[in-house]
Amino acid sequence: MTTATTIEQDQLLLLLTFLSPAFPTGAFAYSHGLEQAIASGAVSDSESLTGWLSALLIRGSAWNDAVLLRAVGREELASLNSLALSLSASRERHLETTALGGSFAASAAVFGDLALPEGETAYPIAVGAAASAAGISCEALIPAYLHAFAASLVSVAVRLVPLGQTSGLSVLARLMPVISEVTQRALGSTLDDLGSATFLSDIAAMRHEFQEPRIFRT
């Protein structure tokens, strides 16, 4: 499925900046439970990695993030942020979204005021607020966000499984149609569409808390 997405050049530059691995959020330190799934043997090659990440995109935390991104600007930001925070499936998921959200908000402030609510900010809310302040549309933001999410976890697997760089890229290539399909659904979503069925991913995030040895914070 291809959809034409137009974006002003200055907005494109901001979007690339916000979701670049070089944007100082510290995203490289979080595996979203994938480190545990690799240690337990659930994810062991590019096939299983594709299955793991597809599920997160289609009916997992990444899907919920996409629905939340869609709701920024339509719902009151403070209550949307509370909802996002309350959806954390475990202590480390809460740590991940608030640490990324906090660093993102601090860094994005360089480019303009985000008017975020007081206290902790969930990562998708910080990103959504920054994009919204820059006038970046959800048509551009959501696929870029999902791509950054997938690419970051592919790089975790490249290091830990380990996978060759080419295998990692082939996983990303296979996820691209998934990202497009999920984006289309997310664009037509409301908060009623929040919902996941990634039981074993949520459980992996919980079990990561006592995994030894561990490299990633989540």
Partner: protein, 276 residues
């Protein structure tokens, strides 16, 4: 009539029994119960939901007289505990949700806990049959010092009877507020084929989520962890403890739950129907 009843009752197990089918798509039931310092304050029942509260007891038993849940059924349960009261609620039996061609059944449960009261919500398993539809909502409103333990457990058909389920419409939404602030949400959604992937259900036939909100919740993580199987997890943060259990079937799930209850509750608060 008797012959018809027998014929209907001999149908496949995933068809609702006669009592449920006669009321097909229409069953309604509601219960409102409130406990305070001096015991029972309010008790109202309507339709096919009943609640039994033996006098002097802090254990209540919820009974659905409709003989299972069919598409379009609606149930509502409102519980309030205040004035340092304690109340443990469980259902009398596992609840079956039958195949539907129409809308999902809806169950809305609302709990309000105040003034250091303790509320324990431990219904027995919900058994989902193939092509069943259930939308379950749990709303919990707590103040700073109250205690809440809630759980929902779900069994995907009965494997030991050789039933296979492939497709369901299932939603489970929890919204738990403490001092008015949204503390914890669950949004579980399965719409269509069971998600059997390695990040999803795998080959599990039963699952449960437990939530404990109490000032001491975080101290229990290590002990809970020791009781869990290899496909379950526990985590605690910000005054709550969450346990997610996946097991091969309902029998194994029940065994795990029965091992966990004594860790989370004093013996007098474990609903007796779970122990029979």
């Amino acid at each position: 009539m008797r012959a018809i009843i027998e014929r209907l009752e001999n149908r496949e197990a995933d068809e609702a029994p006669l009592t449920a089918r006669l009321h097909a798509e229409r069953a309604r039931g509601s219960v409102r119960l409130s406990m305070g310092t001096t015991g029972l304050k309010t008790l109202r029942e309507e339709g096919s939901l009943k609640i039994r509260l033996p006098s002097g007891s802090s254990q209540a038993i919820l009974i659905n007289t409709a003989g299972g849940i069919a598409g379009g059924d609606r149930y509502r349960i409102d519980i309030e505990a205040s004035g340092e009261s304690r109340l443990a609620i469980a259902s009398q039996a596992a609840e079956r949700v039958y195949r539907t061609l129409g809308p999902s059944a809806e169950i809305t449960v609302s709990h309000r806990v105040r003034d250091r009261a303790r509320l324990i919500w431990l219904p027995q398993e919900t058994i989902l049959f193939d092509k069943s539809g259930l939308s379950r909502r749990l709303e919990v409103d707590l103040d700073r010092e109250s205690f809440f333990l809630g759980m929902e457990s779900t069994v995907l058909g009965r494997r030991e009877s050789g039933e296979r389920i492939r497709e369901i419409a299932f939603r489970e939404n929890w919204s738990v507020r403490r001092e008015g602030r949204l503390l914890h949400s669950e949004r579980l959604k399965i719409d269509g084929m069971l998600p059997r992937g390695i990040a999803e259900l795998g080959n599990a036939g039963a699952f449960a989520t437990l939530l404990l909100v109490s000032p001491h919740a975080e101290a229990l993580v290590e002990d809970c962890r020791a009781l869990l199987g290899s496909r379950s997890g526990v985590s605690a943060w910000d005054g709550r403890l969450v346990i997610r259990l996946l097991e091969e079937d309902g029998f194994r799930l029940r065994k795990r739950l029965l091992a966990l209850f004594p860790l989370l509750l004093p013996p007098a608060e474990i609903p007796r129907v779970w122990l029979i």
